[in-house]
Symmetry: D3
Subunit: 240 residues, 6 copies
């Protein structure tokens, strides 16, 4: 039995609130247990220099935490004049994941920026950002179609992410912060609803991990992501 | 009749949600209509260099907006490597306002940082930050007393803020963004519950304003702040 | 009797030296007692992005202090890589004040930047910057007319600023640094020569201040600004 | 047959030149084909604040490329005032990998910084940095023992890294830049000589990849890293 | 005959105004023709880390230009977040020159920072900064002695600087901006009153220059610096 | 006899390795004894704003040291967010020296950036950068001619640099770090192969130096640079 009463292969309570803020073209409050991330997708005209005249649009992501999203207050990046390395790493991951299911030619001339701002962090914030960010991006694309900015849905599949790891020798799904802190191995697994691994990041925290453990982690993650795909789909279907 | 159906001297719907996030010593979601600000007060051991060995603690504030808190996305400060001038101005204002009702000697050895992060902006964000920030600070001070960190409440009065301005020649209380954009004069009035003006900032936006208009603005603001003091008090009383 | 022998409603010695430096289109050394500010107005072709094709020009201001303008040396902004918050606040104020009396359509295609560099600070530097900055701007506009860059004077009225505050319960005009440090309330009042308040910033330093005190402050400031308008006018008239 | 004539499971020519520069406590020029990285390990007294009085030392890494290490010149980080996101991500990876085989208590009081500077990049620079960085760290630790700074070798196993990916449906080991650019999937696999996975990063570049492909990648990487362990060992043994 | 009527070996009008600002321990307005530099020497307790417990004090310099010290406005360093390279080069030069005549052991425990802020630039600003900076430093040292902070004068000789160059084949002393712009060679020569060259920087602007020209330049500079030493001495003697 | 057995007027072993890296249009590893600098010349289309439509191209230089190029590790510029002052000064010097022998009109439309990255520093890194940078620039220009980008060689003469100084009263050529640290005077002399001084920087380190010493230094430097010109020429001739 886990610290919060869950079974080994059980997700925390998942909640996706669409239209959480009123200005963003796509806005989602993504909650995985006590982890809460505001995912806002903003549509802007124009593309980065390296895509000029390429016939393609662009999707990118930014990730940040409120100073007190965690147990101790952290300084804002602007105070130290440096984007913290962890955020740099995470926002690159989110961007890659979202682009992996985007047909950029269908976005020609537009950039969609998905801002993932963590209000409260209790483990798994990068995974929640991918999963919620996808939904925000989908809402924004749908709005672009309604407004006639684009003619077809650029998203070719869903993408979702979940963490899984080894704690006390057992594979657990969707680690909360306390579990994450004592995990022997910790993986973030991003999957596509069309099947297959979009991105996989695994770290042996206290010791190297085995291929056997990796197999168990992937297996748990597949079940977890399937549930997340269903939760995304439910909201998408409601929009028709 | 105003754009949103209010009377000239009427506040928007005020909502203060205490304990909005779980880590901060004091946490409040402050809503004035569609303006939403997360106010988190964090307690840290230590004081800034200029107060070392002074027998005093410190209260300071930081203010920021999520990139898509407004109609168009704005870049994060860290992207331009500059704290934007408006935020710099506002967070200095919030800090002064909160310190004006704080007996810093009662906080000796501690710094309380009140982070005001605007989730959604519809006019009056700095005022909402002062009003909600005060409540977050009070909650944090109360927790410090419960934990025995300090022996008496450092806050000597309540502080609240509201905007008022002249639109089409008429004095209106608590301007929303659209009203603010077309105002002839725009004031932010910060009052103390013990009576008197803590800070007053008035700007003639399209033309200079008159002392007569200032008088009307102050009068409206007094009624508005009185209502805000009651709303704060209700939550404070509930905590006993 | 005040620390420097003045009466309560008396300005310090005011001196405005036009053409202080030789390159700037408008250059003024502004002195209020021992407060000395070089105000240089520079004309450049082009406008900021948000005004492109708007038919308008732009007026903006920058404010800085020499490291040893004050009793103790302060680090240059570039050493800490941060524009200090106080300077950010002040230069926004100066810019707003100057624009309040400028018809930007008459400046179409040009930006005038008014640099206010404090050589020596003895209280009231932001007010001196507004008053001297106005004159530098006027000189620059006049030069633009002489050179045929613009066809009419864009400045529609004069603008000047003075501080006033409550010290030991008495309203004093034009506080020097030592008075400012012990003031109970401190206001900066920016007026237009066409009548009316351009901007008003009042802070209760040691306690909230009353509407009655505000009335006295405004009354003193009106007399002070009238004298400043006359001093500006004298130089302007001499230029024909 | 691959672009450079190698077999699918064959590494490029591996060359490790110890003592490449004369000042660093550990210095290695690491070459994998045309990829060349200078790995310098520097020993400094002191530990970061979060380890103070913990009985532990620290190992960290920095990664950068010379401006013309690649086909087109890139700006130095200092020109844009930003550590580029890719470098931030990579140097965090190198640091984690090296710490995974370090007993930090054996380094108590010291920080070893491993600088990985890419002279020429032809794919696999992060893997070369881990493999060469390990050797530089080992050389530095050995020097610390010789000098009596520490009493036992802090490194508990070897660590090495290699890339492997899927190109045209086939699993290839140690991708060069041209292969990397057209890969369907691309993994970096960091292993420990004591067995097990230290870190695994896999990305589907053009499409999601399958568990079957992951299995082939891991299998190729194991053989590749075994060869790298032997190459490291040869140099280490020569030092006695 | 030169552009401003001077002879080839003649300095521009030299004016040194001591006690130019009221706060700095040493303050000089240094004028060479239309070149005007405020040189303020500030005394602070403490030394940089590399001198801790060395029995020595420190002398350093900072150099900057007001944005409109020149014909076109230049951005402030803080706007680009970069100290401009020219200023970096010049302030290192000034610091070295001042330290060359300072016995740092006589300043033990103190740092004197000499800020050279150019109000108006018409060629030769770095030389004016050295010459005026020396006098400001001397005034500050004298004040330190008066206050009993130090027991003997740390300055062992005077230092002064002047430019000289080749214009149209002729050696000219103390180039103004217009001459400097068309010079074939341009040197800055810093001499000590005790005899000898403190620092020499010569650049062939349009062509390499000859040893013969260098000899002429040095000869002119010696006469120029002799006059500057006398001007400094006159003020120093007046202080007794 | 010198520390490394050389005669007073003898250079250290000079080695220039052309085509050191494979991407840069011109690449040289420049070695003077243990001082090693990678000089990479990169050709890019476009010129800086101040040369637009001028009919000229541009040559510029950047200079940096690897963190452990010296006896103690130095922080990367990006860590402190500041280009260090010494590097700023040196890269300006290198750029001026290279431009002094370049006919910029022959480079119309192109910018060549010469990156000088010090791998190992043992005195004389700026001189080695000029000498090696010249050769890298020549190689790049030659490649531009081969590719038909330009029609004639823009370099009108060779340029090379060497240090010389006074140690224990004796003039020594090409100081190594240890000699440099104890030198009474230290000069960097940049000469053109067409005769004449391109740039001269001389500093009295422990005392002012005399014109007589300067004469000896120049004489030694002429012989040293002649040898460097021959070494450059040998490689250039081999390319035809």
């Amino acid at each position: 039995m886990r610290i919060d009463g869950r079974g080994a292969g059980q997700l925390r309570r998942v909640r996706m609130t669409a239209d959480y803020t009123k200005y963003a073209e796509g806005s989602v409050l993504m909650e995985m247990g006590d982890t809460k991330v505001i995912c806002n997708a903003s549509v802007e005209v124009g593309v980065p220099p390296f895509l000029r005249d390429s016939g393609k649009g662009w999707v990118t992501a930014e990730y940040a935490m409120l100073p007190r999203a965690t147990g101790t207050r952290s300084r804002r990046d602007i105070s130290s004049l440096k984007l913290n390395g962890r955020a740099a790493e995470i926002q690159r991951l989110i961007g890659r994941a979202l682009r992996s299911v985007t047909d950029l030619t269908a976005l020609d001339g537009y950039t969609v920026t998905v801002d993932c701002d963590v209000i409260q962090a209790d483990g798994g914030t990068r995974c929640a950002s991918v999963t919620g960010g996808y939904l925000a991006l989908w809402l924004a694309c749908r709005k672009m179609m309604e407004r006639g900015l684009i003619t077809r849905m650029p998203l070719t599949a869903q993408v979702a992410a979940v963490s899984a790891g080894v704690v006390d020798g057992e594979v657990l799904l969707d680690l909360c912060y306390e579990e994450d802190s004592s995990a022997e191995a910790d993986c973030n697994i991003i999957l596509s609803s069309s099947g297959g691994i979009v991105e996989l990041q695994g770290t042996g925290e206290e010791r190297p991990f085995t291929e056997q453990e990796l197999k168990g982690i992937l297996s748990a993650a597949k079940r977890g992501n399937a549930a997340l795909f269903r939760a995304q789909k439910k909201i998408m279907d409601a929009r028709g």
